[in-house]
């Protein structure tokens, strides 16, 4: 029998310790040892991208990564894209804009797109840029156009909600005349409804202040 390795790493923000052979594929470690079956195998040779996960923020094909390489790293899988039960903006865009059909490539594509949007830092990536970023993720159902649309729509929406947040954070000052005491004491809750569910960190996002109702809507 081959040697067994004790491995400590982080998956979706949770610390994990697993005992696995050093050359076991990260894909299998996630699916079998961590019970996270959201990451899929499409080809097992790094061509289709269905098994894409983030390794310290970088998308990798988890079927090509041996367990020994993940000691101490932070892994994010599709299960870690949404914070809490609600869908992230990107996930919701995929559901509403036809970005997912059979769904087997979807986890990998979401992870790759998530990394792209994080790199874009609030900018809406162009059609060609999204296509190049997704070139390592095969999809047989959609023809890709709706996937590209969904990624760009999510970027737009994230940017729009980030702008709203900035605007709202500035509002208490403007409103000071009409509601001087409360507005000054408690700045508006910075996140819009959608933003609360987003998993895409936005630079301009101010810290949340608990205890105040949503400013509007």
């Amino acid at each position: 029998m081959s040697a067994v390795l004790t491995l400590d790493f982080t998956v979706n923000g949770k610390r994990r310790r697993v005992r696995v052979p050093p050359m076991k594929r990260l894909l299998d470690v996630l699916r079998e040892d961590c019970g996270l079956t959201g990451t899929k195998e499409g080809c097992g040779e790094g061509e289709c991208g269905a098994c894409t996960v983030l390794m310290d923020g970088v998308p990798v094909n988890s079927c090509l990564v041996p367990a020994v390489q993940v000691a101490g790293v932070k892994i994010v899988t599709v299960e870690g894209l949404a914070k809490g039960p609600a869908l992230s903006v990107l996930q919701r865009a995929f559901v509403e804009l036809g970005g997912t059909q059979c769904g087997i490539c979807t986890p990998g594509i979401l992870v790759t797109a998530h990394a792209l949007l994080r790199r874009a830092k609030g900018r809406v990536p162009g059609d060609g840029e999204v296509r190049v970023a997704l070139a390592g993720n095969l999809c047989r159902c959609t023809g890709y156009q709706m996937i590209v649309n969904a990624v760009r729509a999510a970027a737009r929406e994230t940017r729009a909600s980030a702008r709203k947040r900035v605007a709202r954070a500035a509002k208490p000052v403007a409103r000071a005349k009409t509601r001087p005491v409360r507005a000054k004491a408690k700045p508006a809750r910075p996140k819009a409804k959608i933003a609360r569910t987003t998993a895409i960190p936005v630079k301009t996002q101010p810290k949340a202040v608990p205890g105040r109702k949503r400013a509007r809507r």
């Binding site: 699916r31 079956t37 959201g38 990451t39 899929k40 195998e41 499409g42 080809c43 097992g44 040779e45 061509e47 289709c48 269905a50 599709v78 299960e79 894209l81 949404a82 609600a86 869908l87 996930q91 919701r92 865009a93 995929f94 559901v95 509403e96 804009l97 036809g98 997912t100 059909q101 059979c102 769904g103 087997i104 490539c105 979807t106 986890p107 979401l110 059609d127 999204v130 296509r131 190049v132 997704l134 070139a135 390592g136 993720n137 095969l138 999809c139 047989r140 159902c141 959609t142 023809g143 890709y144 156009q145 709706m146 996937i147 590209v148 649309n149 760009r152 729509a153 737009r156 929406e157």
Partner: protein, 790 residues
């Protein structure tokens, strides 16, 4: 006629892209006597949330207690006789379950149309990668390692590996002529037609295998129940096909066999018949071991051994008047069926019925044959024989246009079928005929005339400049072109197929007072269950999200037929729509008033359940009386109606590397009614890209009867960068027999693009290729030939 463009009308596009608010759990207004329409609206896909969060469980995600992992020992030769099977004594065989044909409790066959395909080889090997025996072990790695410890000694025999070999019949592997099936369709007087023609044009068109390449590989889990039955769950399109096959293989009555669909990662026809094989294998290992057995293929095994699109050689000869009018059409199509009959006769039949194209022609002869070869059986793949024959006809029409000096659009418009025209089987096209309209819409949208002129001028200018030694930046010699094609696709089973199927669908009330759809049709990504809930919701006056859908499970759902043939929305959706109307009538009669939305429905339904007991409404397929089909003579209404599509493809070809990239695709498709416009556009875009892949990239290469490129590394499908932008126009010309006017949409998009690609390449480069895929090698050879020809 109502027209709908999905992506390109500004307002609609903006609306779609702006995204609606999270609506999966949206509550509807309290009182809505006129509820929001459910049909024609792009509601969130029912299975979407599970698929974007990783919650959706596919077969490989399931783990049952005590489960073993199965593997298949396969033949490495194409044809031969098994002489000996040896198990390496040095290997640790403890805990290994081994099953061969002798363990099959029932008949050793994969029951379908004929019963010629064995579940496991007995003595004869008929194709490479044929299953010989099965292994299972609790440790998947041990099971995999055991494959190398089994030695199968096979005495090789001469094999038939191509259509040409099969027709030559020097080696006979099926009957005297290696022909599985032949169809002949005739109308009018062919000889008189050709005699009257001013121009006769002939061409031979070839196309190769195509792998469905669903991203989820095939897989099944088999279990033996305590009561002596079997349960199989896995990735599939047609639970009752598997159910039927298992009954025969295990000699069990229907009630002892249970088949359950798991979330299925794409099918495209590839999970129509082959799952019966894997289900039989997994169940056999479970039967022998008494433990659940998971048998999931990896990509290599899936490509090497499962079904593919039939390769074809198609000779087309047509006679025309000077103005292009078709007066005679003679088609001879030969398809490679592979080693066993499986679905080949039906694929061939559909291919033959569409082989004349969507054109009016008084004198037609269509001969179609499927031949036997020692290659893995070919099977269903989106289009089901039609992409092959329509590709041939459309390539041919482009050639005719060139010979007659006509604009390909003008030639097609002149001959395209219109209301009242008659097909080669004598079917009168009574309603919903849109061939001319889809051509016009596509040409208009694509800017056909302007682009043709522009590309021709630019190509000529580039050639002049290059002759003068002036090259474009990068030194690349690029040419652009635009090509057009027209296709049609009959929705539903061919001829009396639907009558034989006798599909039964049902709608029931759950104890909680919600409607639940009971159908064996599977969600494989296309959105079947979303569309079902929409159609039922529309008739019940409730929100689509209020309607539940039962998992396809042969213990729980009636046999509403397979999820194939572009029939799910039109045929099964139609049955469900009738069920919903009947259910509403029952409940309204009971309540003595009209139902009003979800909450009211639930109130009335609960009262009904309390006072009258359970409510289940069933509807069985009834043939519309005006549809008449004669199976023996192949005369009559082959299909209740046809969907029509036209595609314009713009390409750029590199004259030095032979690479072709697709710049843009414009397509108008008449599908009767878009129940869910976004999903319909998804079918059209995805199907079109598969067609482009088939025309340009996807080539299954063979070595001694085995697939040589059984990997995604070298079997190339289009990526996001290869895929062009799609401009999709959905034309809604309703069919009176379909629910809300809907016809089929699943397959049509795959039928049309290849012919347009060939035409676009010819337009760009002057090289007319008669074989697809147009790989760089083929294009360069053709370009060399063109130069020599000058």
């Amino acid at each position: 006629m109502p027209l709908r463009s999905i992506w390109t009308t500004g307002a609609r596009r903006r609306n779609l892209l702006r995204m609606t608010r999270t609506s999966t759990r949206r509550t509807r207004p309290k009182t809505t006597l006129r509820p929001e329409p459910a049909v024609g609206v792009s509601v969130p896909k029912r299975d979407g949330a599970d698929k974007v969060t990783g919650r959706a469980l596919y077969v490989d995600d399931l783990k049952l207690p005590g489960m073993l992992h199965g593997r298949t020992v396969r033949s490495t030769v194409a044809r031969g006789i098994i002489r000996r099977i040896e198990f390496d004594p040095a290997f640790d065989w403890s805990g290994m379950v081994i099953a061969d044909h002798r363990d099959i409790p029932g008949e050793n066959c994969v029951a379908h149309i004929l019963e010629d395909q064995p579940l496991l080889a007995v003595r004869e090997i008929e194709h490479a990668d044929q299953a010989i025996l099965l292994l299972a072990h609790a440790d998947p790695e041990r099971a995999a390692a055991a494959l190398g410890a089994v030695r199968v000694e096979v005495e090789s025999l001469d094999a038939v590996l191509s259509i040409e070999d099969a027709l030559a019949a020097r080696v006979k592997i099926h009957g005297e002529d290696n022909v599985f099936k032949e169809y002949n369709i005739a109308r009018g007087d062919l000889a008189a037609g050709f005699a009257a023609a001013a121009v006769v044009v002939e061409g031979v068109y070839r196309c190769g295998h195509q792998e469905q390449l669903y991203l989820e590989n095939n897989g099944m889990i088999g279990e033996r129940t305590a009561e002596g039955g079997i349960v199989v769950r896995g990735s599939m399109q047609c639970p009752y096909f598997v159910h039927h096959a298992l009954q025969r293989a295990f000699g069990l009555p229907p009630e002892k066999v249970r088949v359950i669909q798991t979330v299925t990662g794409g099918g495209f026809g590839g999970k129509e018949d082959y799952p019966s094989v894997i289900a039989g294998h997994a169940a056999l290992l479970a039967w022998k071991s008494g433990r659940p057995v998971k048998l999931v293929y990896d990509r290599l095994e899936d490509i090497a051994s499962t079904t593919k699109r039939h390769p074809a050689v198609i000779r087309v000869r047509t006679g025309h008047q000077r103005d292009g009018t078709l007066v005679a059409t003679d088609v001879d199509a030969v398809m490679d069926g592979g080693a066993y009959v499986t679905l080949s006769p039906v694929v061939l039949s559909r291919g033959a019925l569409h082989a004349g194209g969507a054109y009016r022609c008084p004198n037609v002869r269509i001969r179609a044959r499927a031949v036997a070869t020692n290659t893995p059986p070919n099977g269903a793949f989106r289009g089901f024989g039609v992409p092959q024959t329509v590709y041939a006809m459309e390539s041919h029409m482009d050639r005719v246009a060139a010979e007659l000096g006509l604009d390909p659009l003008v030639l097609r418009r002149r001959n395209a079928v219109v209301l009242g025209d008659v097909t080669p089987t004598g079917q009168v096209l009574r309603e919903s005929v849109s061939a001319v309209e889809v051509l016009d819409r596509t040409a208009e949208r694509a800017g056909w005339a302007a682009k043709r002129g522009r590309y021709e001028r630019e190509n000529a200018a580039a050639e002049r400049a290059e002759r003068a030694g002036r090259f474009a930046s990068g030194g690349r010699r690029l040419r652009r072109g635009i090509g057009l094609a027209l296709g049609w696709h009959g929705a539903g089973f061919t001829g009396s197929g639907e009558v034989r199927l006798q599909s039964l669908a049902a709608l029931e009330l759950t104890p909680g007072g919600r409607p639940r759809v009971l159908a064996a049709n599977t969600e494989i990504g296309q959105g079947a269950i979303t569309v079902f809930t929409q159609m039922v919701a529309e008739r019940l006056g409730v929100a689509p999200g209020f309607v539940l859908v039962e998992t396809p499970d042969t213990d729980r759902v009636p046999d509403s037929g397979p999820t194939v043939a572009s029939r799910t929305t039109m045929v099964v959706g139609g049955l469900l729509e009738q069920c919903a109307r009947a259910m509403r009538e029952r409940l309204e009669l009971f309540a003595e008033r009209a139902l009003d939305g979800d909450a009211d429905f639930r109130r009335v339904a609960r009262r009904f359940l309390a006072e009258r007991g359970p409510l289940r409404v069933e509807r069985r397929y009834q043939k519309p009386p005006h549809i008449v089909w004669d199976e023996d003579t192949y005369k009559g209404d082959a299909y209740p109606c046809f969907s029509y599509g036209a595609v314009a493809v713009e390409i750029e070809a590199d004259l030095d590397t032979g690479e072709v990239s697709v710049l843009r695709v414009t397509t108008a498709q008449d599908i009767g009614k878009a129940i869910h416009p976004l999903l319909c556009a998804g079918q059209i875009e995805g199907g079109t890209l598969q067609g482009l892949g088939w025309a340009l990239l996807e080539e299954v290469r063979w070595k001694d009867g085995r697939v040589w490129n059984h990997q995604l590394t070298n079997y190339i499908i289009p990526t996001a960068v290869d895929a062009p932008p799609f401009d999709v126009v959905i034309v809604e010309n309703p069919y009176s027999g379909g629910p809300f006017g809907a016809k089929g949409v699943g397959e049509l998009p795959m039928d049309v693009p290849a012919g347009a690609v060939v035409a676009a390449v010819a337009h760009a480069t002057g090289a007319r290729l008669d074989e697809i895929p147009i790989t760089p090698e083929r294009l360069l050879r053709a370009l060399d030939g063109r130069k020599e020809g000058r």
